[in-house]
């Protein structure tokens, strides 16, 4: 028994060192790559005049698909915002995913909709489409509303894909606020493509809690007053400006947020559309279209744009956050299992050799390792084997490294988009960087563990996202 315990200690000791070294190196490399990528992007885009595509007849046609479920409170304003986006050749397809509230009635009244004899084929799997609505009022000619039986977000997006006909599709959350020029910025990589076909593009999602919003537009950007959303601002800034930017540069991007992403419709359909049996449909789609391109020997690119293009309300209570994070964990696991063939598969290049292993080890397994670490830590405290001075030294080592990474991301934000104008907000954000590892992170880790348990117990619900609604902050 004692021998086995010694072996276990020896194994953990060495394995942990190797992994720690790998992670710290990975973070440093990602930070450097994201800095290079950001600099390149900003320099390149400082010469761009987006106005040239606003009305250009040469610009590709777009369909913005917005699934909506019980969003009666906000749906009218949100559609108005979508219809006012800067772009010439686009349509807005709102999919009422079997809402139990009066969303459909409200839309019919507000936009003078009539049920039309629309013929669609179910080329992508989705629940029964009950009807397609259009307006005779020319002001709303860009709007199409689909009413269908409830089937979840992926199912609703597939219904939208079955009905829309344009070259590019934009999937968004109906309750998010898009920047007016978001489509212009997202479409640009597709228009710049030459040898490689761009099949997907995503942008930065920012947090709208506490921001001043009117007429469906962000008027003033404020840092959330509550700690929980503020910690998420820190988390999002780090993830978007450092993580994804670097992965885009490294061609290993596995995820474009479901809140806003633009895709080549033809490729999405050929790859089979959204997977309806997963709660991580956004990540799954990106991985699948990438696999489709590689399997068919087609050159492609998935692009990421660091511009803040979309604003969303994040959970402000622990209960709602727990549901969201449980869903994210289950979604990640489902995608990783579905596409396990990618793992260290040279055929898939950086996606298989870098992206997938990173996600498996550093994203999915991280909370599990952390949780086991806590159990091990408790065990050692109980047995009196823990070396407290060394514990404090290690804690300081990891804590300060983590905080410095967060502050780097604040610097990136400051040097690039500078969204928080008030000095006080930036100072508070930096303060949050110090508190987040102590109070927010352990919470998120436990929520992720819950996600794994939910998955094991087959509890595969999407989970209700209760929002306060914009303008009610």
């Amino acid at each position: 028994m004692e021998r086995a315990f010694e072996i276990l200690k020896f194994f953990v000791l060495n394995a942990v060192f190797i992994i720690t070294a790998m992670i710290f190196t990975a973070y440093l490399i990602l930070t450097i790559f994201s800095a290079i990528s950001l600099r390149k992007y900003l320099r390149k885009n400082s010469y761009v005049d987006y106005n040239s595509i606003v009305a250009s007849p040469l610009a590709p046609s777009l369909s913005v698909i917005a699934p909506a479920f019980n969003e009666s409170e906000t749906i009218i304003d949100n559609i108005r915002t979508l219809l006012s986006l800067y772009y010439n050749n686009f349509e807005v397809v709102v999919v009422n995913d079997g809402s139990k509230d009066d969303s459909l009635e409200k839309m019919i009244n507000a936009y003078e909709l009539e049920k039309v004899n629309y013929y669609f084929d179910y080329r992508l799997p989705c629940k029964r489409i009950r009807g397609v609505y259009k307006s005779q009022n020319r002001s709303f000619k860009k709007l199409t509303v689909i009413d269908k039986a409830n089937g979840g977000k992926a199912d609703a997006l597939n219904a939208g894909l079955n009905v829309c006909r344009n070259e590019l599709v934009v999937s968004i959350d109906a309750d998010s606020i898009m920047e007016p020029d978001a489509l212009l910025k997202l479409v640009k990589p597709f228009m710049e493509a030459k040898e490689k076909r761009v099949i997907g593009a995503g942008g930065v999602i920012r947090i709208a809690n506490s921001c001043e919003i009117s007429d469906g537009h962000i008027q003033k950007v404020n840092l959330p007053k509550k700690f929980l959303p503020r910690a998420q601002v820190m988390e999002y800034t780090r993830a978007f400006l450092m993580g994804r930017m670097a992965w885009s540069e490294l061609d290993g991007l596995l995820l474009i947020s479901g809140a806003l992403g633009m895709f080549d419709r033809e490729i999405v359909i050929k790859a089979g559309g959204y997977h309806t049996n997963t709660v991580g449909e956004d990540m799954e789609l990106v991985v699948r279209i990438r696999r489709y391109m590689t399997d068919n020997d087609l050159d492609y690119d998935v692009v990421y744009i660091p511009d803040p293009l979309c604003w969303t309300e994040v959970p402000s209570t622990v209960k709602v956050l727990a549901r969201q994070r449980s869903r994210w964990t289950r979604g990640t696991l489902e995608t990783l299992i579905t596409h396990r063939k990618l793992f260290f598969n040279r055929k898939y290049g950086k996606l298989g050799m870098l992206g997938y292993p990173y996600w498996l080890v550093f994203e999915y397994l991280a909370p599990i390792i952390e949780f086991l670490g806590i159990l091990w830590f408790i065990f050692l405290v109980i047995t009196g084997d823990l070396n407290w001075p060394f514990f404090l030294l290690l804690f300081g080592f990891v804590y300060f490294f983590a905080v410095s990474l967060s502050i780097w991301s604040v610097l990136f934000e400051e040097m690039t988009f500078h969204k928080y104008e008030r000095r006080r907000d930036v100072l508070r954000l930096m303060g949050t960087a110090f508190l987040e590892p102590l109070f927010y992170h352990p919470l998120v880790m436990l929520m992720s563990i819950k996600g794994n348990i939910d998955k094991l117990l087959n509890r595969n619900k999407w989970g209700k996202m209760e929002r306060k609604g914009f303008g009610k902050n």
Partner: protein
């Protein structure tokens, strides 16, 4: 919406695992720390302190030398993190103040330049004084850059003689030297600025450099060179198209097209580029033919129906629809069976735009034989657009009991005027 990439997770996870796992190793490490401390307390050190350090620093150094490598690394990382934290905090705060200060300076200068430029352009009495003052204020590089930007902004909205006055002032102030320097600079972003300024001010002294950049590997530089060539050309603004070796992206095409509209440039006969090997240029030329309705290109476009690139063929079919080229329809019917799905759809779309009852049989055949709903819908739309004969045929089909059921749904869809 989901978010990934949270770095802190694993870092903290590993800390905890490490904290536990290191118990054994830590014992050794802490023994070492303790013995180190003991040595420091008693003043016993293994090596003599380095002279350049103070006594305290020497003791720290000695302690480091005695520590196991792991402990040393941990201390170094903690120290690095704390130092970088402090540095970053300072940088962020300084950066904010600097941004504010620069913006203020820029606003002041812009206001001043605006007034001086107005005086120079519209007040003969103040012209010389304004010139002298501009010359004085624009002493530094940054001030001159703000002045150049202001003059470009102004010239965008002006035409004719007054624009020429600005260009002359630009030369008189010697600002073209700055622009030329930028055009020949080693960094691409400087070249871009230089090309832009020279093109706005109609200075051709760096044309050799601009032509060289037409095939640069940097997208932005290449595009800016194209724009500059269009602006600086007298006769044919697009003659550089024949020189392009790299593909002309859709983004570049849109930019060139917008430039043409904004500056009301001379429109060439775009068919002259149909024969080029660079297919993106051919497609751009085709799009421009459609936009400017250059109808006398029937024969040349029909030739492109046989092009090996499917995108070129696609654009050719599209353009025939846009310019209403009826003579192309029989050739398209011939091409239809061999075409890709996307091109088939475009051919049918062209039949919708150029309705001709002579081809109803072909369209009915598509409706009967094609399995894909989009193709069926497009064929039905084309039939409907032929007016009376097509609509009668559709009504007959819809009433027919013997016909395949889908017809009715498709025809109802097409005949529903509320669907755009």
């Amino acid at each position: 919406m989901r978010l990934k990439g949270t770095y802190l997770g694993l870092v903290l996870a590993l800390t905890l695992v490490t904290m536990g796992a290191m118990a054994t190793h830590g014992q050794v490490a802490v023994d070492s720390i303790s013995s180190d401390s003991a040595m420091v307390e008693t003043g016993q050190t293994v090596q003599e302190p380095v002279v350049v350090f103070s006594d305290y620093a020497s003791r720290i150094l000695a302690r480091f030398k005695k520590s196991p490598l792991l402990i040393t690394i941990l201390y170094i990382v903690i120290l690095y993190s704390i130092l970088s934290l402090i540095t970053l905090l300072i940088i962020i705060l300084i950066h904010r103040s600097r941004l504010k200060r620069e913006q203020k300076l820029k606003d002041n200068l812009l206001e001043r330049y605006q007034q001086l430029l107005m005086d120079y352009l519209f007040d003969d009495q103040k012209q010389e004084a304004a010139f002298n003052e501009l010359n004085t204020v624009a002493h530094s590089r940054i001030n001159r850059q703000i002045l150049i930007d202001q003059m470009i902004d102004l010239s965008v909205n002006l035409k004719g003689e007054i624009k020429e006055v600005i260009q002359a002032l630009y030369i008189r102030l010697g600002l073209q030297k700055d622009s030329l320097e930028k055009a020949y600079h080693g960094k691409w972003h400087e070249n871009v600025k230089g090309f832009r300024e020279l093109a706005f001010m109609n200075i051709r002294d760096a044309n050799d450099q601009i032509i060289k950049s037409l095939n640069a590997s940097n997208d932005i530089l290449r595009m800016e060179a194209q724009i500059a060539m269009v602006r600086l050309s007298d006769g044919n603004p697009y003659e550089f198209l024949a020189l392009l070796e790299k593909p002309l992206s859709l983004w570049e095409q849109v930019t060139l097209h917008e430039l043409q509209i904004q500056h009301n440039l001379k429109i060439p006969a775009f068919k002259q580029w149909f024969h080029l090997e660079n297919i993106s240029v051919v497609m751009f030329a085709l799009e421009m033919v459609a936009w400017y309705k250059q109808r006398g290109v029937g024969k040349e476009i029909l030739g492109l129906f046989e092009h090996e690139d499917e995108h070129v063929r696609f654009t050719s079919y599209k353009v025939c629809g846009e310019i209403g080229l009826k003579m192309s329809l029989p050739a398209m019917i011939k091409r239809y069976p061999e075409e890709t799905f996307k091109n088939k759809l475009e051919i049918l779309h062209t039949f919708t735009k150029v309705p001709d009852e002579k081809h109803l049989k072909f369209l009915k055949n598509v409706l009967d034989t094609e399995e894909d709903v989009q193709l069926q819908i497009e064929a039905t739309k084309a039939m409907e657009n032929t007016d009376e004969p097509g609509i009668s045929m559709l009504i007959k089909l819809i009433k027919s009991k013997s016909e395949y059921k889908n017809y009715q749904i498709i025809i109802r869809h097409v005949l529903d005027g509320r669907i755009y």
